[in-house]
Amino acid sequence: MSDTAVADTRRLNSKPQDLTDAYGPPSNFLEIDIFNPQTVGVGRARFTTYEVRMRTNLPIFKLKESCVRRRYSDFEWLKNELERDSKIVVPPLPGKALKRQLPFRGDEGIFEESFIEERRQGLEQFINKIAGHPLAQNERCLHMFLQEEAIDRNYVPGKGLGEKDY
């Protein structure tokens, strides 16, 4: 092979792109919104639930659209399940705000509007980060959290979507 004075920097040949791929919707659409916080219950037994709405075209999710109501402790459950079962570094949740649960506060404590809004934003960031993680998408607990009415805390943890009544 003879020495060339100038290197050949021409592009390598590549396949032309299919136009439906180029202009079609990307196959990575995943959006989760957390909104509509509602406080249910009375007195000491009150708690706030948030609506978790998911829209996606990822084939790994059974439903392309889902909407469930979840409370903060459900998010905590999800975080613990993922930390235990998967090798992911799970992002942090917004704070537990124990101080706000003490009596004799000047404001509404954990039912204060600004606090709920802060928490809503934190939960939205958390769930979007998690749901987009390829390893988390393999965990049964994530699918149950996002797409099933109620969380069955006695479920069998595992990878993949597991058994479902068809």
């Binding site: 092979m1 003879s2 020495d3 290197a7 050949d8 920097t9 021409r10 592009r11 390598l12 590549s14 396949k15 792109q17 299919d18 791929d21 180029a22 079609g24 990307p26 196959s27 990575n28 995943l30 990822l58 084939p59 790994i60 979007n128 980060k129 987009g132 993680h133 390829p134 998408q137």
Partner: protein, 333 residues
């Protein structure tokens, strides 16, 4: 050439510096050091490097003896290991009362490895002149940089691979060669077969891994020499992203494998994709780097010049050549 004292080396009359070959090409930096570049590409008959020793300080106490030696030295975090050392006496014990010049010559010095300065290891060639005295010696060292030159490898296949995460991201990457010289260009492409994550950008890093030590005490030092963004934005299936990365802009050394059984320096291309949530997906691939000789002999024809460069060793033309670490089996005669 004058030589002082008995026992000084004889000088061959045919030796003179600068005829056509690559010795003493002046001051060059290897890393950030200065030294005289001594290229292994061009062996010369009687190839010596006549030099002048630095003049000893005037008016000192009686001199015991003076000597000069080229040493090739390997450091490993405090442990020195000399692998070649030659000594020549320059002067007998006596007194020095004024500036004196001592000429010397070392013929056929073995220079099997390239000079290298790394994080945990340093390989250097140097001349050391020592004036041994009763109380304290005067020592002066001068570094010499040695480069190992190679030529185009006979076999240089491209690297082409399909990698990915099941159902999530599949790409096919291709680099035009597996062995690149230090001023070469990496030409390649990334083809997206499946994209189900939101990619923010993609980059190629050049990583240098220096491995020192043996057995249980092996140390790896990874150093990212370069980060080069090749794509900004989210690709979709069917897209091809070109790569064109010029190596001349970076401080690189040739790939060194198991030098003197003490250390290795290897290079890797790291293809990194970063998604919207700062998650990184990467594929590392080793590439072999080699140093191309760039000295052209004016006294030979172009063909002869190329032929004379097709070797990997200090053997002069006409002798048997042993294949060096970069060739793929064949040695040319």
């Amino acid at each position: 050439m004058r030589c002082f004292g008995g026992g000084a080396p004889a000088v061959s009359p045919g030796c003179c510096p600068g005829t056509g070959s690559a010795q003493s090409a002046g001051y060059l930096g290897a890393g950030r050091e200065e030294g005289v570049v001594n290229r292994r590409a061009a062996p010369r008959p009687g190839g010596a490097l006549p030099q002048r020793a630095p003049p000893p300080p005037v008016g000192q106490a009686p001199v015991a003896e003076a000597s000069a030696l080229p040493i090739e030295l390997y450091y490993d975090r405090g442990n020195h290991h000399e692998f070649v050392s030659l000594v020549k006496d320059l002067a007998r014990p006596g007194e020095v009362t004024q500036s004196q010049a001592f000429d010397f010559e070392f013929t056929h010095v073995e220079k099997p490895y390239e000079s290298y300065t790394g994080q945990n290891v340093k390989l250097r060639y140097f001349l050391r002149a020592t004036i041994s005295r009763r109380l304290n010696d005067v020592v002066k060292e001068m570094d010499i940089v040695v480069h190992t030159l190679s030529t185009y490898p006979e076999l240089n296949s491209s690297i082409k691979m399909e990698v990915g995460i099941e159902d999530c991201l599949h790409i096919e990457f291709e680099y035009n060669k597996s062995k690149y010289h230090l001023k070469d260009v990496i030409v390649g492409k990334i083809y997206f077969l499946l994209v189900r994550i939101k990619i923010k950008h993609m980059e190629i890093d050049i990583i240098k891994r220096e491995t020192t030590g043996t057995g249980p005490n092996v140390y790896h030092e990874n150093d990212t020499i370069a980060k080069y963004e090749i794509m900004d934005g989210a690709p979709v299936r069917g897209e091809s992203i070109p790569i064109r990365l010029f190596l001349a802009g970076y401080e690189l050394t040739p790939t060194m494998r198991d030098i003197n059984k003490k250390f290795s320096v290897r290079y890797y291309l790291n293809l990194v994709l970063i998604d919207d949530e700062e998650r990184r997906y990467f594929k590392q691939q080793e590439v072999v780097l080699w140093r191309k000789g760039d000295i052209v002999r004016k006294s030979m024809s172009h063909q002869a010049a190329i032929a004379s460069q097709r070797f990997e060793g200090t053997t002069p033309l006409g002798e048997a050549r042993t294949p060096g670490p970069l060739s793929d089996g064949g040695s040319r005669q």
